[in-house]
C-alpha cells in the first residue's frame, strides 16, 4: 500500500501540539505527507484515537543475555506456546513461545500487536553485538536498535586512568561504529568490574575501581562527555550504582549532580529511588528524584515500573543478581563477559502481598505522578525486569484512572508505604496526550529520532489507532489498526502483516590513531582478533550524529 488517508479519528500528536483534533493523516510511501489526491484509498476511523506508533526506550529483547534468559526458562515457555499468526502474503509466519522473555518472532508480533513499532535493547555487550543484530533480524515489524555497554570496560578504564580522554571518546565512537549500536550505556559504573574482583558494594561515586583515578564518577563524566561531544542523538544512558538497594537514592542523586548541566538519561529510576538504609529499612524516595528531574531540564529518565506478576530480572549488573539469587533461592545465571561487562539473570515474581514489591510498585507510580514534565520521564518496565512489555496497557490504566489505582493500592502490602506520596493520595490522572508523550513523543525526543513519535509531515508512517474504551487497559492492549512504515500490520485488531523492521544505529567519527593503541591491547589481552570484532553488512542508513 503506497497511499492511504486515515480520516475521522481524534489525533493525539503532542510533538505537533495536536490534542485530540479530528483531522486526516495522509501516508505515501511509508511516510506522512501533507495531502493526497482525493481518490487515494481511505481508512475511516471515526471516533477512534490516532497516535504515532509506540516507542520503547528501554527493554531487553535481543542478544546473548536475552537468549541466556530464554534458555533458562523452559517451564515458562511451555506454558505459553504461540501459534504462527495467519498473515497475508510476503513473510512466512512463525510460531514461538511467550512468557516474560518471548522468542524473537513472538516478541515482534506482540509489540506490534500493542501498537509499538520501535524498540531499543538497552544492554548489549559490544563483543556480542553481532548476535543482537541476528536476533533483531528475526524480530519482525519493529524498528530496533541497542545501547552498547561501556561503563565497565577495561580499555576504557585504562584511558581514564592515564588521562587519555580524547582516546576514551574515540574508543566510545569506535565501539558504536563497530557494533552498530545507537547509544552509550553505563550499567553500575565500575561496579561490574568490582564484582569480578569480588568487591560487592560500591559505597560512593569516588570508590576506586582498581585505581583511584578510575571511579564511578569519572566513568560517568567521561562517557557523558563523550556522548555529548560526539553529538550522539541520545545522551549517555545510565543505570546507576546500587540498583534495588535500600537507601540508594543518595547514590542516584549524587550521580545526577555529578553530571549537572550535561545531557544524560537515567534509566529505570524506580529501581534507584529508595530511601531507608541497607539491611534495615526501606521507604520511597521518589519525590526527591522527581523533584531533581523536574528542576533540571538536561536530565531525562524512564521509570522502570514494577508490575505485579512474573518477571525475569536480566541485567549486566551481575552483583545484584547474585543477591537476588541468594535472597530468593531462585535459579541464577551469571556470565562475566570479556573484560567488557557482565550478565546476571534470576526469574522473579512481584507479589502484592510482599512489602518490597509493593513499595517498588508505589515508587514507580510516584515517579510518573510527581514528574511535572512527561517529556522527560517516560514509560518503561525495564522489560522483562519490572514486568513484561505486555503489562504496559495495565500500567497506562493505573496512570489514567485514579479510582482504579486507588483500589489497587488498597490491595497491596502497606508495611513500607507510610509517608509515601501515593499513600497520601495523588489526584493526578494522565490525559491521552500525556500518554502519547510518555509512550511515543517523549521517547522519540529523548532518543533524538526526528522521524519517529509524531504524525507531522515527513515522519515515518508508524501509526497506532485505538478504539475508545473507558477501560484504558483494554483500549491500549488491543489497537484496532497499526501501521508500520505505511503498511497495515494490524487490521481490526488482528495481526495481518509482518514486514521486516529497520535497524537504528549511529556511525560517529573517530581519530583512527586509536586503532594502533587498540591493536596492541587486543593483541595482549583479547580472545577475539580486532579484525573480527566489528559487525559488517548493516543495510539501513545510520542516524546522523551532530559531528558527522
Amino acid at each position: 500500500m503506497t497511499r492511504l488517508r486515515i480520516t475521522g479519528g481524534a489525533v493525539h500528536d503532542p510533538a505537533n501540539a495536536i490534542d485530540g483534533d479530528v483531522r486526516d493523516i495522509c501516508i505515501e510511501n511509508g511516510r506522512i505527507v501533507a495531502s493526497l489526491p482525493a481518490d487515494a484509498p481511505t481508512l475511516r476511523v471515526d471516533g477512534m484515537v490516532v497516535m504515532a506508533g509506540g516507542i520503547d526506550i528501554h527493554a531487553h529483547i535481543a542478544g546473548t543475555s536475552v537468549s541466556l534468559g530464554r534458555r533458562l526458562l523452559p517451564e515458562e515457555h511451555a506454558l505459553d506456546p504461540t501459534l504462527a499468526p495467519p498473515l497475508d502474503g510476503g513473510s512466512i509466519p512463525r510460531s514461538g513461545t511467550g512468557g516474560t522473555v518471548p522468542s524473537t518472532f513472538t516478541t515482534g508480533y506482540r509489540y506490534a500487536g500493542l501498537g509499538y513499532t520501535t524498540v531499543f535493547d538497552a544492554a548489549v555487550a559490544p563483543v556480542a553485538a553481532r548476535q543482537t543484530h541476528a536476533e533483531l533480524d528475526d524480530t519482525p515489524i519493529i524498528d530496533g536498535g541497542f545501547f552498547a555497554l561501556l561503563g565497565n570496560d577495561e580499555y576504557l578504564h585504562r584511558q581514564i586512568a592515564s588521562g587519555e580522554l580524547a582516546r576514551a571518546k574515540d574508543y566510545a565512537a569506535w565501539i558504536l561504529r563497530s557494533t552498530g549500536g545507537y547509544a552509550i550505556k553505563i550499567v553500575n559504573p565500575g561496579g561490574i568490574e568490582l564484582w569480578k574482583q569480588n568487591v560487592r558494594e560500591v559505597k560512593t561515586l569516588d570508590d576506586p575501581v582498581g585505581t583511584s583515578s578510575v571511579t564511578p564518577r569519572r566513568i560517568l563524566e567521561v562517557l557523558a562527555g563523550a556522548a555529548n561531544e560526539l553529538g550522539l542523538p541520545h545522551p549517555v544512558h545510565i543505570h546507576c550504582n546500587n540498583l534495588g538497594v535500600a537507601g540508594n537514592v543518595a547514590m542516584t542523586l549524587d550521580s545526577m549532580r555529578a553530571l549537572q548541566g550535561r545531557r544524560a538519561h537515567f534509566t529505570h529510576l524506580q529501581f534507584h529511588s529508595y530511601g531507608g538504609e541497607r539491611g534495615k529499612s526501606w521507604s520511597s524516595a521518589a519525590r526527591q528524584v522527581a523533584e531533581y528531574v523536574n528542576s533540571h531540564p538536561e536530565v531525562t529518565g524512564d521509570v522502570g515500573q514494577v508490575m505485579f506478576g512474573d518477571a525475569t530480572t536480566l541485567t549486566a549488573d551481575g552483583a545484584v543478581e547474585y543477591l537476588l539469587h541468594t535472597s530468593t533461592g531462585r535459579k541464577w545465571i551469571n556470565s562475566d563477559i570479556e573484560l567488557e561487562t557482565g550478565c546476571g539473570i534470576v526469574p522473579y515474581s512481584y507479589k502484592e502481598k510482599a512489602a518490597v514489591a509493593s513499595l517498588q510498585w508505589v515508587v514507580g507510580l510516584e515517579l510518573f505522578l510527581l514528574s511535572n514534565d512527561p517529556w522527560r520521564m517516560v514509560l518503561s518496565t525495564d522489560h522483562p525486569n519490572g514486568g513484561s512489555f505486555m503489562s504496559y496497557p495495565d500500567l497506562i490504566r493505573l496512570l489514567m484512572d485514579r479510582a482504579y489505582r486507588d483500589e489497587k493500592l488498597k490491595s497491596v502490602n502497606q508495611k513500607m508505604l507510610a509517608g509515601s506520596a501515593l499513600a497520601d493520595g495523588i489526584a493526578r490522572e494522565y490525559t491521552l496526550n500525556e500518554i502519547a508523550i510518555i509512550t511515543r513523543a517523549g521517547p522519540a525526543r529523548q532518543l533524538g529520532l526526528a522521524a519517529k513519535g509524531h504524525l507531522g509531515v515527513g515522519a515515518d508512517a508508524d501509526i497506532t489507532i485505538y478504539s475508545r474504551d473507558t477501560d484504558y487497559a483494554k483500549m491500549f492492549s488491543t489497537p484496532r489498526y497499526v501501521l508500520k512504515a505505511g503498511t497495515l500490520v494490524v487490521e481490526e485488531g488482528q495481526l495481518r502483516r509482518a514486514p521486516a523492521g529497520k535497524r537504528i544505529f549511529v556511525k560517529p567519527g573517530f581519530d583512527d590513531t586509536l586503532l594502533r593503541d587498540l591493536g596492541k591491547y587486543f593483541e595482549a589481552y583479547s580472545s577475539v582478533r580486532l579484525a573480527n570484532y566489528s559487525v559488517t553488512g548493516l543495510r539501513d542508513a545510520p542516524v546522523p550524529t551532530r559531528d558527522a
Partner: protein, 420 residues
C-alpha cells in the same frame, strides 16, 4: 609452491568449540595448502577445502525442480524431522528451523545426544560462567575436571587458560594454579600443579563433600576427606576460579556431574568468584542451541507438531528415531558428524541431505545436495563454546550456500500452501 597463492588472515576455525579466530589460511590452486596457527585438529577440519558439488537423487538436475520435489516430499510426511548437524552457520541453522516451523516438524541437533546433561542442569539451576576472554585475563585457579583439553581442544590452554598473560595475571602460567582432577580414566592435564584423583564411583560423594566442606559442614566420608579439604582450601583461596569440564564426553553412566559442578561453582561465589566453563566440540554447536533458543525458547528437541514449539528433551531425536516416529527427515549440515545412535536409527526414514559432501553420504538418502562448510566455504556467524558470536568467512567458493538454499526451500514449501 610455484602456483599463485593468497593468504586469508584472521579466519575462524570451527574444528572445535574454541573457535580460534587467528588462522591464516593459505590458498593455492583453489585448495587450502596450509592453515597456519591451527592445531592438528584444526588442520584436519580445514582439510584441503575440496568439495563435490553434486545434486544427487532428484528427478531433475535443475535446483528449482529439486527443491519443489523436496518440498513435496517433506510436506507429504506425517511426522518429519529436521536435523541440524554440525558445520552450519547460524544463518543456515535459522533457515532450517524456519522450515521445521513451517512443516510442523520435530527439530533437533547433536546437542540432545552429546551434551543434554549440562543444558538440562543449567535449566534447573542456572549457571555461573564466564567467557573465555574473562578466564584468560582473570582466572588464577584453573581446575580441569576430568578433562585434558590437549586432545579435543588443543589450543584451549595456550589461548585461554592457563598459559596466556592476562590483565590480572602479568606472568601468565606462573601466576596461575592448575589443578587436575582425575576421575577414573578421565584425567586432567599432565603438567598440572596439583592433582586430585578419585574413582568414577567416588565422584558424586566427592562433589557432595566438597560442597559441604565449602559450606562449613562436616565431610561425608573419611576416605576422601584429605583430598576434599585440599581442593576446598585451594578454591577458597582463589581470586577467580574456573572449573573446566567437557560437555561432549560426560561419564558413560549418568553421574550428576553436570548438576554438581554447576552447584559447586555457583556456591563458591558466596566467598570468592568462580565460573564454570563447559567445553563443546566443533561445527558451531553452541550456535545451534542458541539459534533454536531465540526462535523457540528452547535449545534442543523442539516439537512443532502442534503448531507451536514444545520442549521434549526426554524424548529427543535419537529416541524418537529409535521408535520409528518419523517418516521423513531433512538432515542439514555435515552428516558424518551426526552421532552414531542417531545415524543408526535413521534407517527406514525417507531422507533428504543438504550439506557438505551430501552426495558422498553413506546414508540411504533419496535426495542429496552438496553445499559448503561454514567457515570454509560459507560466511556468516558462529558461536564459540562460551556463546561469544564470531564471524566465519568463506575462503573458498561454495557449491551452493546452505542458508540461501534453505530459504529457497522454505519458499518452495510455502508455495505449496500454508500449513501441513
Amino acid at each position: 609452491m610455484s602456483e599463485a597463492t593468497r593468504i586469508e588472515e584472521n579466519v575462524t576455525c570451527l574444528g572445535c568449540g574454541c573457535a580460534c579466530d587467528d588462522i591464516a589460511v593459505v590458498i593455492g590452486g583453489a585448495r587450502i595448502r596450509e592453515a597456519r596457527n591451527a592445531c592438528a585438529l584444526g588442520v584436519r577440519w580445514f582439510g584441503d577445502g575440496s568439495l563435490p558439488g553434486a545434486i544427487a537423487g532428484g528427478r531433475s538436475a535443475a535446483i528449482e525442480d529439486v527443491l519443489r520435489e523436496i518440498a513435496t516430499l517433506l510436506r507429504s510426511a506425517r511426522a518429519p524431522l529436521v536435523y541440524l548437524a554440525p558445520d552450519l552457520t547460524c544463518e543456515a541453522q535459522g533457515a532450517a528451523i524456519a522450515i521445521a516451523d513451517q512443516l510442523h516438524a520435530f527439530v533437533d541437533g547433536v546437542t540432545s545426544s552429546t551434551s543434554a546433561d549440562g543444558i538440562l542442569a543449567a535449566q534447573r539451576r542456572g549457571r555461573a560462567s564466564a567467557t573465555l576472554g574473562e578466564i584468560r585475563n582473570r582466572a588464577d585457579v584453573v581446575v580441569f575436571w576430568a578433562v585434558d583439553p590437549a586432545a579435543s581442544y588443543p589450543r584451549f590452554q595456550s589461548r585461554y587458560a592457563p598459559n596466556p598473560v592476562g590483565v590480572y595475571l602479568p606472568q601468565g602460567r606462573r601466576d596461575r594454579t592448575v589443578i587436575a582432577v582425575d576421575v577414573g580414566a578421565q584425567r586432567g592435564p599432565d603438567d598440572a600443579d596439583v592433582r586430585i584423583q578419585m574413582t568414577a564411583e567416588e565422584e558424586q560423594l566427592f562433589l557432595a563433600s566438597l560442597r559441604a566442606s565449602l559450606a562449613g559442614r562436616a565431610l561425608g566420608s573419611q576416605s576422601i576427606a584429605a583430598r576434599v579439604t585440599e581442593l576446598a582450601a585451594r578454591l577458597n583461596k582463589a581470586r577467580y576460579a574456573v572449573v573446566v569440564t567437557d560437555a561432549e564426553s560426560p561419564p558413560s553412566v549418568p553421574s550428576g556431574r553436570a548438576d554438581s559442578l554447576i552447584a559447586l561453582t555457583q556456591s563458591l561465589n558466596a566467598t570468592t568468584r568462580c565460573a564454570l566453563c563447559t567445553l563443546r566440540a566443533g561445527g558451531n554447536r553452541n550456535g545451534a542451541d542458541t539459534v533454536l533458543t531465540w526462535n523457540t525458547g528452547f535449545p534442543m528437541a523442539v516439537d512443532f507438531s502442534r503448531g507451536a514449539p514444545r520442549y521434549t528433551p526426554e524424548n529427543a531425536a535419537g529416541a524418537r528415531l529409535a521408535h520409528g516416529e518419523f517418516d521423513a527427515a531433512l538432515l542439514v549440515g555435515n552428516t558424518s558428524a551426526i552421532p552414531t545412535v542417531v545415524r543408526a536409527a535413521l534407517g527406514a526414514t525417507r531422507i533428504v541431505v543438504i550439506g557438505p559432501r551430501a552426495s558422498e553420504s553413506t546414508l540411504s538418502a533419496q535426495i542429496r545436495i552438496d553445499t559448503g562448510v561454514a567457515g570454509i566455504h560459507e560466511s556468516g556467524m558462529a558461536l564459540r563454546l562460551d556463546d561469544i558470536p564470531l564471524p566465519v568467512r568463506a575462503v573458498l567458493p561454495t557449491p551452493r550456500d546452505t542458508a540461501s538454499l534453505l530459504e529457497a526451500l522454505g519458499s518452495a514449501i510455502a508455495a505449496q500452501g500454508v500449513g501441513p
